[in-house]
């Protein structure tokens, strides 16, 4: 990761080796955060595998915070999806 920004509130993170897979889902999780004023990602060039991920926060919150919270929320979602999926598969097989 590289960070680049004028002040702590609006930061552009450059994530290497990433594409829409993580970019879009992370953007969704960060947008759900009410402290975030602007969140977006773009792929600088399709031949290079890196994304520019920009977060701008309302007020004095440093931009790293919503980024971290978004990642943690996304992990929480994945964990819950994994548990629910495995439980459903087990139930389906049990009642077959």
């Amino acid at each position: 990761i590289q960070a680049d920004g004028t002040d702590g509130n609006c930061v552009t993170f450059v994530l290497h080796d990433e594409d829409h897979t993580l970019g879009n889902s992370l953007r969704y999780m960060v947008m759900k955060n009410p402290d975030v004023e602007f969140c977006g990602y773009c792929i600088t060039h399709p031949s290079e595998s890196k994304i520019n991920f920009r977060i701008q926060t309302r007020g004095a919150l440093p931009a790293v915070e919503p980024f971290r919270k978004g990642l943690k929320d996304l992990m929480g979602v994945c964990q819950h999806v994994l548990n629910t999926f495995e439980r459903s598969v087990k139930e389906f097989r049990a009642q077959k």
Binding site: M29, M75, R93
Partner: protein, 323 residues
């Protein structure tokens, strides 16, 4: 279409992320499971995350496939590079979780990251064949090279590591090449672990796709011949005709089966009476595996890979000081 449910977009709606509300609304239903296919529903999740799972299933779940082919003797009609290309595409039944990735620049390959296979076959004429037969099955031995002729050659201590494992191609009847008497193929193959992003031969799914649940609403009650035409407009099983008070009335029986051909909009009389839409957060996933791993294991691995990506960035955030 982007989702619009983020905080501040609709005044009065509380759209901020709430893990508990997500968990209450989310559910997964398995509809059908066969040996290689799995069809399941995910309700209550967003398009961005469902698409992330689909992309990971296609491109980032690792598998083992033939990468390097050492050709000792190839006197067949099939050129070396074409033969190597075909061998690479054969799915190998080997659990990729037992192996590591090969280090960059490592030419030899150790036993923890490489599987070795050998294909050694020679075509001979059959001396007992009848004089006038023209059937190649009778005339020659071994003239068709199938994937069942590939044998596993254990490297190093692989016999101890995997005592009861049987590494072979998933399907035995994949035709690799055709030979005639006097031609032979003698190659040694190295399989490594890779992901679909690198080369499509590493993709573990035949395909993985999702669609949204259709939502068909009849704006007005439709009767008699209009009901019959309506039933023909949709896929069979979607619209059901009931007999109420002697009149035939149409009812939406199973919207799930519809393939959305929009035939109904070609009929002037029925155009305005039906509304076709999609339920925004109900995804019907369909995963078909190539046989390397069962499809439910593939989905679990894909979810774990997404978690691994997040964890990687969390670790980086914590370790590297941000200025």
């Amino acid at each position: 279409v982007h989702t619009t449910d983020f905080p501040g977009n609709y005044p009065g709606y509380e759209d901020a992320w709430d893990q508990r509300r997500f968990e209450e609304a989310f559910r997964v239903d398995v509809i059908r499971e066969e040996e290689d296919t799995l069809e399941f529903d995910m309700v209550g999740i967003d398009a961005a995350i469902a698409n992330a799972f689909r992309r990971i299933l296609l491109a980032e779940v690792p598998t083992m496939a033939v990468e390097k082919v050492f050709v000792y003797n190839n006197t067949s009609i099939v050129q070396d590079e074409i033969l190597a290309h075909r061998l690479g595409l054969i799915p190998i039944r080997a659990d990729p979780r037992l192996f590591e990735y090969r280090n960059q620049g490592d030419q030899e390959g150790t036993e923890i990251d490489t599987l070795q296979f050998q294909l050694k076959i020679k075509c001979k004429r059959n001396p007992q064949a009848a004089k006038e037969s023209s059937d190649p099955d009778e005339l020659y031995f071994n003239h068709k090279v199938y994937s069942k002729h590939m044998t596993w050659v254990p490297l190093g201590n692989q016999t101890d590591l995997f005592p009861d494992a049987d590494f072979r191609p998933v399907h035995d009847d994949i035709l690799i090449a055709l030979l005639r008497p006097g031609q032979e193929i003698d190659v040694l193959m190295h399989c490594v672990k890779g992901i679909g992003k690198d080369h499509a031969k590493f993709s573990p799914v035949a395909t993985a796709s999702y669609r949204l649940l259709p939502d068909i609403t009849l704006l007005q009650p439709i009767e008699d011949e209009a009901a019959e035409t309506l039933q023909k407009c949709f896929s069979p099983g979607v619209i059901e005709i009931q007999n109420i008070n002697g009149k035939k009335v149409a009812r939406v029986a199973n919207a799930r089966l519809d393939t959305f051909s929009r035939e109904v909009f070609r009929h002037e009389s029925l155009k305005n009476l039906v509304r076709l839409a999609r339920v925004r957060n109900h995804y019907i996933f369909s995963v078909e595996s190539t046989g390397i791993l069962p499809p439910d294991v593939l989905v679990s691995e894909a979810i774990k890979i997404l978690m691994g990506k997040c964890q990687r960035f969390l670790n980086e955030l914590d370790s590297v000081p941000m200025e």
